[in-house]
Symmetry: C2
Subunit: 428 residues, 2 copies
């Protein structure tokens, strides 16, 4: 015979266990944020190195490659530290681990990419695309961590973090595309379209980052924004966008553009680091609070065991679980050696816990809904890849192009495509 209170305590232990697993994911997100920042710098310098013959980019690139390698080591060390069976017990472990596998696989492509860049065997645009694919695999890992998080307050912060990182990645791609254009002295129509998409997409992400952030992360963001060279960025953007097709861009501005964008990216990365600390603090706070509640329940259990050796919780008074006063039923009261107050406090604890868990589940669903748009776009991309036999980048380009041509949002085009998927020819 088991006492209900034993299961109530077991439920709390589950919560603590889940929160501890979540704290691990948050550590991983922090390590990934650092690695992505390094990869973005390496991508940027590789771009400059490939686009110009200037020898000074050689040393810069080597330096950034070194920094990325040590960030990579950080992620690998973190993964090595995972207990081999840690994931079995983690909520959503299968999804997180699959994304880790995909991210590791993407990272394995780095050495050969670097060798080709060093030997100038690869064009700037292709190198950027290959670096971006690696970053995308790392961002997908952060997205998954946000989607499987089991605590609504932590989940909110992870959604905020993912959007900040994704926004920063669009900004990083903008830096690369702009730098290539300045270095080449020209921006073609396709490049201009890409740039305006990147600017719009990063703004959407940063809005979502703000919407899901805390008051504290917002305050810090405003302070960092004040330090960003935003007027200069806008001036340079205008130069890029208004350059006559076929030429007219001042090549000397390549450095200015790159430095201006980099300054902003570094500040965004500071916001990420701040948010990552906030994530860790929130996990710790939730774990502490749940531990304190567990402690209360354990002492209640100890009190009960002491007063009723060999027995579980006393029989409840009739109607007690429906919130009616226990005193109405004399027979019920007789079965309550602990007094109606203690019995009622246990019943209230159970009801409160059940309500709280249901509420958390509702809140989680609401937070996760913010991730639905990206899921639709990913699914639409997958559909295009399967039906058109094209790669991921090309599938995305097709979607974006359709959205631009029709003046619709990317996600709406994705939704329409998925709705129409039954009408598409069968997979090849």
């Amino acid at each position: 015979m088991q006492s209900p209170l034993i299961f109530l305590v077991a439920a709390r232990r589950c919560e603590i266990h889940d929160l501890e697993q979540l704290a691990l994911s948050c550590d991983l997100v922090q390590a990934v944020s650092g690695l992505v920042h390094r990869l973005q710098r390496e991508r940027g310098t590789s771009n400059l190195y490939l686009a110009s013959a200037d020898a000074r980019f050689d040393a810069q690139r080597a330096e950034h490659v070194g920094a990325t390698r040590s960030a990579e080591d950080g992620v690998h060390t973190w993964l090595d530290g995972l207990a081999p069976d840690a994931g079995e017990a983690a909520p959503g472990g299968a999804r997180l681990f699959t994304r880790i596998a995909m991210a590791l696989h993407a990272l394995d492509a780095l050495p050969s990419l670097r060798a080709q860049v060093a030997a100038r065997q690869c064009r700037a645009a292709e190198a950027t695309q290959r670096y971006s694919r690696i970053v995308a695999a790392l961002l997908a890992l952060v997205f998954e961590a946000a989607d499987i998080a089991v605590d609504p307050s932590v989940s909110r912060l992870l959604v905020s973090m993912f959007n900040l990182m994704q926004g920063k990645e669009f900004a990083g791609q903008e830096r690369a595309a702009g730098a290539a254009a300045f270095a080449a002295g020209r921006l073609d129509a396709d490049g201009a379209q890409t740039l305006s998409h990147l600017i719009e997409a990063q703004e959407q992400c940063l809005q979502r980052f703000e919407a899901f952030g805390t008051a504290d992360s917002l305050r810090q963001w405003r302070a960092l924004q004040a330090l960003m060279p935003l007027p200069e960025l806008e001036r340079l953007r205008r130069r890029l966008m208004s350059s006559p097709t076929g030429g007219g861009l001042d090549r000397a501005l390549a450095d200015t553009w790159f430095d201006c964008c980099s300054q902003r990216l570094d500040l965004i990365h500071q916001a990420e680091a701040h948010l990552a600390r906030g994530l860790k603090d929130e996990c710790a706070r939730r774990i502490d609070a749940t531990r304190a509640e567990l402690g209360d329940q354990e002492s209640l259990l100890a009190t009960l065991s002491a007063s009723m050796p060999g027995e579980g919780l006393p029989a409840p008074a009739a109607g007690a679980e429906a919130g009616e006063p226990a005193a109405v039923d004399p027979a019920g009261a007789a079965a309550e050696p602990l007094g109606p107050r203690l019995t009622r406090s246990i019943v209230e604890t159970m009801q409160a816990q059940s309500r709280r868990l249901q509420q958390m589940s509702d809140e989680l669903a609401a937070v996760r809904a913010a991730l639905d748009e990206r899921k639709l776009v990913e699914r639409a991309k997958g559909l295009l890849m399967a039906h058109h036999g094209v790669g991921e980048d090309e599938a995305y380009r097709l979607l974006r192009q359709t959205a631009m041509n029709q003046g619709r949002r990317l996600v709406d085009v994705a939704r329409t495509l998925l709705d129409m998927s039954d009408l598409l020819p069968p997979r090849a």
Copy 2:
């Protein structure tokens, strides 16, 4: 350094672990289904015993109490067999364990309820209500098991099972209410309203049971329905509903009614037992399938380790992860000692696994949406309990009454109430 494949294997292990935990929940659901069936019989006989002075119900009641006790022991033995930390690793463990605590607490009320029934210290209506509350706590446990299940195919069957059990419970309450009316020789307006609500509610549940069942469970259901005394049930229902207020019911029909309802309930319970076996089979099938896939991945991993001692997965060819032919990139091909075929098979495995997990998550969300209505009603009940200071039964009665008066569905009234909750006075 860890190979991506190691994490892919870890992901499969997570899935197997989650499915094994799910199989445990399904065992619990099976034990609970048996216990609920016994409790419903005990409730029915207690009702007859209290409503009539006939001594033969005494022996019947004692017999049913004995049967319930052994079903109770079954559930307790099952719970005792749970490893103390089993739940920590179970998805949704906190929610399931809280519901187990609440169900155990409700069951603790049985001895005093039985003592009062035996001593005729309790009216039939009150005894029914108290038994129903215990059954409700057990059904809430099954509901939670359905809501936290992580596999869409098993989740569907659990939703089907919950609706069958809930439908059977409404049928059991109908049996009790009808038996009390026949035994008393009268059915008042309130009782008539309760009866028609119970008939409608059980039909809704049985429709949902069919909608979420398998072809096999449906076939079995049709066969069982053919054995049910449905024409007789409808004749007796008509007698009840058309009796003039204040009397006119043939007391001799109490037994006929009770036997007719019981025959149907026993057949519904057979469908439950069939569905419970189907649940176990589905869990076993899913576990076997996932184990087979794990085996494939482990042998792939072994092949890789043998061919590249001390190394992880080889670097992918550029573009390989985007589905482009690996051969386009000579440098990438050079980094592929396993040949492009093996590398591509690993990449495809990762992509397929990721797509499958996302698809499962989407399907799960769709199945769980079928549980939303009940959640709304539960939340609305909680709101009424808090604001009106009434018990659960009264809160439900209020909701039902409002729905009947306004000719609206219960769930719509619940939704409107929740939408308006900000306008309610603050909690007492």
